[in-house]
């Protein structure tokens, strides 16, 4: 009974969320709201990245201990920072998520996920080749990043946000990606 009631409450809340989701997926939103639309877009991407981690397993050597955090490194663009801050405090398979802004290359190598946005791509791109052999999930949203060997690449398809996975790059990074995820992605080699 209580359960039903909660569900019902959730439904009203979720109606709002759905609207929000459609909004966030609509990248060609009115220019007047470009700034906030950008923000919404990155929130969606941050959510995608969070979900990717559920289907991707790292080799044991990637973490010092079973409860070590998963470090996600991002650029310092305010929209991205605020979007990724929504992931703070969440956990994946018992590991807490830590969001870090890029500082040094050495620090970058200790990350588990690196997101190259279109804003700070130039800054990060020089670091990408060095990360390819590390157990790091590299994610990008530009063709340049894709060509440079990023593992996951976001791209829009109509109003939808899609992603493609470079299996070769993943194998090189020794990351195992669940077939469930792969089924949804556009596979490249």
């Amino acid at each position: 009974m209580t359960h039903t009631h909660n569900r019902h409450l959730n439904r009203t809340q979720s109606a709002l969320c759905i609207v929000l989701l459609f909004l966030c997926l609509d990248v060609s939103f009115d220019n007047a709201y470009a700034q906030s639309a950008k923000n919404i877009e990155y929130r969606a991407k941050a959510a995608f990245i969070y979900n990717f981690l559920k289907f991707i397993s790292y080799p044991e050597s990637a973490f010092p201990s079973p409860h070590s955090p998963i470090i996600i490194t991002i650029g310092s663009t305010p929209d991205i920072v605020s979007a990724f801050n929504t992931l703070k405090g969440k956990k994946i398979k018992g590991r807490p998520l830590i969001i870090e802004q890029y500082t040094t290359d050495a620090r970058l190598k200790k990350s588990h996920v690196v997101f190259f946005s279109s804003e700070d791509e130039a800054l990060l791109q020089k670091a990408l080749p060095a990360l390819q052999t590390e157990n790091i999930l590299t994610i990008g949203e530009t063709d340049r990043c894709k060509k440079a060997g990023g593992i996951i690449h976001f791209y829009p398809e109509g109003t939808r946000l899609r992603f493609e996975i470079n299996i070769t790059a993943a194998e090189r990074a020794r990351l195992k990606i669940s077939s469930e995820l792969l089924r949804l992605a556009k596979i490249t080699r």
């Binding site: 439904r11 979720s14 109606a15 759905i18 559920k54 469930e180």
Partner: protein, 947 residues
């Protein structure tokens, strides 16, 4: 049901049907478990398979769901196409919104939202549903629902059904054919027997017999049947004979019944007559209590004709009008509507509970409004527990009630008497008794107030009890010092009661001819009654009562007249008691004031019943501390004196002894004796007089007596010695004087001879005097020897010695009656009589002389009073003392024959030695009587014994 159905069919059909039913049952019993097991197995398999399928599809669609990839989810669901029976499948996201669905070709998609349900598989009418949440990393991200249609399942069931039906049909066919053949073994002989039985019963031909062709139970049945036929044949014959007799009997019984009915009718008529003529009211009600019959007595009693009472309830006759009623018995009572309701409820309950008898007393109202006390006896009429109605016998109990009221009145009077006497015992003063009498009278007669008056010596009246309202109203300012009014002059109504000595009552006092009106301040008189009081037939006063509402009745007057006697008795007894109590207190104060220890002991319990103040204060005896011997003697058991002497010996004896208490330095004389109480019990009364003073005086007296004795003795001795020793020289003087006369008389002249003669005469006289003195003193010293002495003999001896002189003088000795025999010293008493007789002889100058010797019994004296009486010259009053003094002479020496003057003193001395007394009664010239008593030793012994 089957047995019922088969009951009337032929035995052939029965056997056939039985066999078919058995066959059918066997098939069903075999087929049912097989079908059911198969059904459940198949069902479980499907359900399990569907569950697994649902879970797999759900798991596969996790990522699609998570990333909102509907096409991917659609693809996954589309893979269900291979499962022909899946009619519909859908995936819901975490908000239960449809995310993706699959609909089998030719099927409608699921309309509306997916019904909410828990996870798992459920069987519906034509399909199976499976629902599962989709979980990723312990988080529910959506759910999957699959609908699986069961057409395959149904076709399988149909297949089984058809098979079973076919088997049943085949088996029944075979069973029918077989039973047709086999039943003949049993049915044929039975059918034959049936035919014969039919023939017997139709033709009444009991000579037919059935043929037997087997030895089984049917064979036995045929044998039994044949035997029975034989018996019936016999019985038939006998029955015919009986029947003829029975017809006669029936005719006779019918006659008897008719007679009984006649009798019954007569009885009923009689009963009806009894009811109608009964003196008691008899009414009959139906089961609701409504009267449907009432006899004449009822109509007569209540004045309602029978037709008016029919259809009414009994309770309709109960008085209900609110107010005061007076019943025919003279009883007054208040009525409200509860009386009728209560009666109605009572009757209803009685009828409901079907009690056998109910009896109660109530009142019924006459048509003219008069109320009659009645006794109702109600009996329920029932026929086999079915209530028909009731019969009530109603009896007018006016007379009984009157008697009861009379008894109640009498018992109230008796109770009042009782109260008065109780009050007499418990209350303090006679005024309390009077007040109680008044209060009781007021209560009994329901008077508002009243008073009791007593006639005083002046013929006016003093009130001795006045009820409070009366007193308050009658308070006179100047009489504040006393509570009651005194010295009322007889007047008005109460005055006439006293003057006439008869009771008086009036309901209108102011109009009464004797009325003098009421004093100022007196409450208005509405009604009045007065009853005179007498004590020992003398008028005492009266009781006056007033203001009973409704007026006084004759019965009131009678009651108070009845009570007047016990009132007076109680009042006077109380006065007597108070007087007695005062007297008792006075008596006790006498005891307390005595300088003596006085106590009374209960001789059964040895408890001290009474001790006086001397005991309590001087001797410190507390009677509460225990028994007499414990408190007074400190002993553990009663003293021997009480147990062995006082209680054991003569109860009338007084024990008296003296007792010296060293502790108190006091002498007591103790008197102990038994007292018999009026109730037969006994007590010891003891009085110990303090005689310390007397004792000391006695000792003083004893010392004086001893001194006196000694000086007396010395005096006696002196007298004896003196007289004895004087005789010797006197004798010499006398002798020598005689010698001188004889030898020298011639030489002396006449003068000398005369003088010598005088000398001898004087010396002779002196000798006589000395003899007398000697005799007198000897009397004081000699011991007396007492013995029984016959005074007759003694006096005769004395007279004998004096005979010659008596004869010479012509004196007559008279002894009027014999003298007593007493204890005395005979010699000395002889002396007494001789002296007294001699004296009587001497002093007599009459011509006819006599001396009387006798005795008198005087009531004041316990001993005879002896006397010697003469008719001589008498002794004047003034000399009557002197004559007992020694040597006292009244007359000249030679006159009346002379004498020494020692005679009477000696007599007195002898008598005194006998503890007696002598006195003289005399009148000059008429005579003299000497009286004397001899209180001898007997008296002394008796008084000694008292100690």
């Amino acid at each position: 049901m089957i047995t019922k159905l088969l009951r009337n069919t032929s035995i052939q059909t029965k056997l056939r049907i039985i066999l078919m039913i058995i066959c059918l049952a066997v098939i069903c019993i075999f087929a049912a478990p097989v079908i059911f097991t198969d059904y459940y197995n198949y069902r479980n398999t499907i359900s399990h398979a569907l569950d697994t399928l649902t879970q797999i599809v759900g798991k596969n669609s996790r990522a699609a769901l998570l990333f909102g990839d509907e096409p991917a989810a659609q693809d996954i669901l589309a893979s269900l196409k291979t499962e022909q029976n899946v009619a519909y499948a859908c995936i819901l996201d975490r908000d239960d919104t449809l995310f993706a669905q699959y609909v089998k070709a030719g099927w409608e998609p699921h309309a509306g939202p997916v019904p909410e349900m828990g996870s798992g598989v459920r069987f519906k009418k034509n399909y199976l549903t499976a629902f599962h949440p989709i979980v990723l990393n312990d988080e529910t991200i959506g759910s999957i629902y699959i609908k699986y249609e069961l057409s395959e399942f149904a076709s399988r069931l149909r297949h089984y059904g058809a098979l079973t039906l076919f088997l049943i049909l085949v088996s029944c066919g075979v069973a029918f054919v077989l039973s047709n053949r086999l039943q003949r073994i049993i049915t044929l002989p039975i059918l034959r027997l049936t035919d014969i039985a039919g023939a017997v019963s139709q033709d009444k031909n009991y000579s037919l017999r059935a043929a037997k062709d087997s030895d089984d139970e049917i064979g036995i049945l045929i044998d039994g049947f044949n035997e029975m036929l034989g018996q019936i044949q016999d019985r038939e014959h006998q029955l015919k004979m009986h029947r003829d007799r029975l017809e006669d009997l029936v005719e006779q019984r019918t006659q008897e019944l008719r007679a009984a009915n006649e009798e019954l009718r007569a009885t009923r008529d009689q009963l009806d007559k009894i009811i109608a003529d009964s003196i008691d009211c008899i009414i009959v009600t139906d089961s609701a209590g409504v009267i449907n019959r009432a006899n004449k007595a009822f109509s007569t009693m209540l004045g309602f004709p029978e037709e008016e009472s029919i259809g009414k309830l009994i309770s309709n006759f109960i008085p209900y009008r609110i107010g005061e009623y007076e019943s025919t018995a003279g009883e007054r009572f208040q009525v409200d509507d509860t009386l009728r309701k209560a009666a109605h409820a009572k009757i209803t309950v009685f009828l409901d509970q079907k009690r056998s008898v109910q009896n109660w007393e109530t009142h019924l109202v006459h048509k003219n409004g008069m109320v009659i006390p009645v006794d109702i006896n109600m009996v329920v009429l029932q026929d086999e527990q079915q209530l028909i109605g009731s019969v009530a016998i109603i009896r007018d109990i006016t007379e009984r009630r009157k008697a009861e009221l009379q008894i109640m009145r009498q018992s109230a009077v008796l109770e009042a008497i009782n109260t008065v006497f109780q009050e007499m015992i418990t209350c303090e003063t006679d005024e309390d008794v009077a007040r109680t009498c008044l209060a009781l009278s007021e209560k009994l007669t329901k008077s508002r107030f009243g008073w009791i008056g007593e006639l005083n010596e002046t013929g006016t009246l003093d009130t001795i009890a006045l009820s409070d309202p009366g007193w308050d109203a009658c308070r006179i300012p100047e009489s504040d010092k006393g509570r009651l009014i005194t010295d009322l002059h007889l007047q008005g109504l109460w005055g006439s009661v006293l003057k006439n000595g008869a009771s008086l009552k009036t309901d209108n006092p102011s109009k009464h001819p004797d009325s003098t009106g009421v004093p100022e301040g007196h409450p208005p008189l509405e009604t009045f009654m007065g009853v005179p009081l007498f004590y020992e037939d003398k008028p005492f006063g009266l009781i006056a009562l007033a203001n009973k509402s409704g007026g006084y009745t004759e019965a009131d007057v009678r009651d108070i007249e009845t009570l007047a006697l016990p009132y007076m008795e109680a009042l006077m007894r109380k006065r007597t008691t108070i007087t007695l109590d005062t007297e008792r207190k006075q008596l006790l104060s006498i005891f307390d004031s005595m300088n003596a220890a006085i106590y009374v002991i209960d001789t059964d319990s040895y408890q001290l019943l009474f001790v006086n103040r001397y005991m309590r204060e001087t001797l410190g005896i507390d009677p509460e501390q225990g028994t007499c011997y414990e408190v007074m003697m400190g002993f553990a058991a009663p003293c021997d004196f009480c147990t062995k002497k006082l209680l054991a010996e003569d109860p009338a004896k007084t024990y008296r002894w003296e007792y010296y208490s060293p502790a108190l330095d006091k002498h007591f004389i103790v008197h102990d004796r038994m007292i018999k109480w009026s109730d037969g019990r006994s007590a010891k009364f003891s009085m110990s007089l303090d005689i310390t003073d007397r004792k000391q005086n006695e000792q003083k007296i004893r010392r004086f007596a001893a001194d006196l004795e000694r000086s007396n003795q010395e005096l006696n001795d002196f007298a004896y010695i003196a007289s004895h020793d004087l005789k010797e020289p006197l004798r010499g003087i006398h002798n020598y004087a005689s010698f001188l006369i004889e030898d020298y008389g011639e030489k002396l002249d006449a003068e000398g001879n005369r003088m010598l003669t005088t000398l001898t005469t004087l010396s002779e006289r002196l000798e006589t005097l000395i003899e007398g003195l000697l005799e007198y003193s000897r009397m004081g010293r000699l011991d007396l020897s007492f013995r029984e002495t016959d005074l007759n003999a003694l006096v005769a001896d004395v007279v004998e010695t004096l005979t010659i002189r008596l004869t010479e003088l012509g004196i007559d000795i008279r002894i009027p009656h014999p003298l007593p025999t007493i204890q005395c010293d005979a010699t000395r008493i002889q002396e007494v009589f001789r002296n007294l007789i001699t004296n009587a002889m001497k002093y007599n100058d009459k011509n006819e002389k006599w001396i009387e010797i006798g005795y008198e019994d005087r009531p004041s004296l316990q001993v005879p009073v002896l006397y010697v009486r003469d008719n001589g010259i008498g002794i004047p009053q003034k000399h009557q003392e002197a004559i007992f003094k020694i040597f006292k002479r009244l007359h000249a020496r030679e006159k009346f024959g002379g004498g020494t003057g020692a005679g009477l003193p000696i007599v007195k001395k002898i008598i005194e030695r006998h503890l007696g007394r002598i006195w003289v009664e005399s009148e000059p010239d008429t005579g003299t009587t000497f009286y004397f008593t001899l209180q001898n030793a007997q008296k002394t012994t008796a008084s000694e014994e008292l100690d």
